[in-house]
């Protein structure tokens, strides 16, 4: 179940950081049905893509996961960038929290993130929300 644990480690890290910063922000994860929240709601779509699952050293293959995490932060439109910035900061703090020396690795997957980019702001004409895109690389190893 290490694949499940790897995903859980990152999702929990981000979710904890976001809910500590702003409990009204909704989190939406991969393959979960959702209805686009109303214009005044704030929410985050979190996607985790695995690009690699094993590392072939000498002997048996080792579970080694790597890939890309993308968090799309949706905040009410035409209300300035402060809300987007504060939620994005919480997302980034959540992502990088797994790198901290004091991180408690409850899922036993040694999660790491690197090269966090964003938040890239997107103001799309027919979208009800203002969007910030944050992405980073990750690894997890058993």
């Amino acid at each position: 179940m290490t694949l499940v644990n790897a995903r859980a480690a990152f999702e929990k890290a981000v979710t904890d950081a976001v809910s500590a910063a702003d409990a009204t922000v909704l989190m939406v994860y991969d393959n979960v049905r959702y209805t686009v929240p109303g214009k005044t709601k704030k929410y985050i779509l979190m996607t985790i893509n695995f690009n690699r699952s094993t590392l072939q050293n000498q002997g048996a293959a080792q579970d080694y996961y790597s890939g890309v995490i993308q968090c799309n932060v949706y905040v009410p439109k035409s209300a300035g960038t402060a809300v987007l910035s504060s939620i994005s900061e919480a997302v980034i703090d959540g992502l990088t929290s797994v790198n901290a020396s004091g991180y408690s690795d409850t899922f036993n997957v040694s999660p790491r993130v690197s090269d966090v980019s964003g938040p890239t702001p997107l103001e799309l004409e027919d979208r009800s929300h203002f969007i910030g895109i944050i992405s980073c690389q990750f690894t997890a190893v058993v």
Binding site: N49, N51, S66, G67, N72, I133, S135, C136, Q137
Partner: protein, 172 residues
């Protein structure tokens, strides 16, 4: 068999040529990689076909409606057959046909190359994780593979029936 002799003075020229080849290969592979269903969200295929490399920032200003074959992809003949009508349905015949050839660059004269998408609605596509997945994921190994000393000739294999030019290739 005796090797061809070269003066030590050639080393800079050889190194620069090698770097330039790798620079162009990386740009080419990046554009080709992005122009696939694996790495770009595809509805009509216009976005995936509109990746471009250039020395100026790429402007997202091309309307799908003005470019064949994507212009008519949502349309069908009216029951009478005398006019085209919009189906309003998701098209089934998406096509990825790269619209821009990748030019040759010189890393000394053109040290900055922009790779971007010219589709007017490119911003919407960034919501999809596919593009970030390629740029933050595969690009790293692409850079590592490209910028390293290698034996002459590279062989790539492809499996499956993917019509992309890059997506499913594996370097041997």
């Amino acid at each position: 068999m005796a090797g061809r002799k070269k003066g030590i003075g050639q080393i800079v020229t050889d190194l620069e040529r090698q770097l330039n080849d790798d620079y162009n290969a990386l740009i080419q592979l990046t554009v080709e990689g992005l122009s696939t269903e694996k790495n770009s969200p595809v509805d009509t295929g216009f976005f995936a076909s509109s990746w471009k490399a250039g020395t100026q920032k790429i402007r997202a200003q091309d309307k799908r409606e003005n470019h064949a074959p994507w212009s008519g992809i949502y349309k069908t003949r009216s029951p009478g057959g005398n006019q085209w009508v919009n189906t309003g349905k998701k098209p089934t015949g998406s096509q990825i046909k790269p619209r821009f050839a990748v030019p040759e660059f010189n890393f000394k004269r053109q040290p900055t190359v922009y790779i971007g998408n010219t589709a007017e609605y490119a911003g919407y596509a960034l919501e999809s994780p596919k593009v970030a997945n390629f740029i933050q994921g595969e690009m790293r190994s692409l850079v590592q593979q490209t910028f390293k000393e290698k034996a002459p000739g590279r062989i790539f294999t492809r499996t499956g029936s993917n019509s992309s030019v890059f997506g499913s290739y594996t370097r041997l």
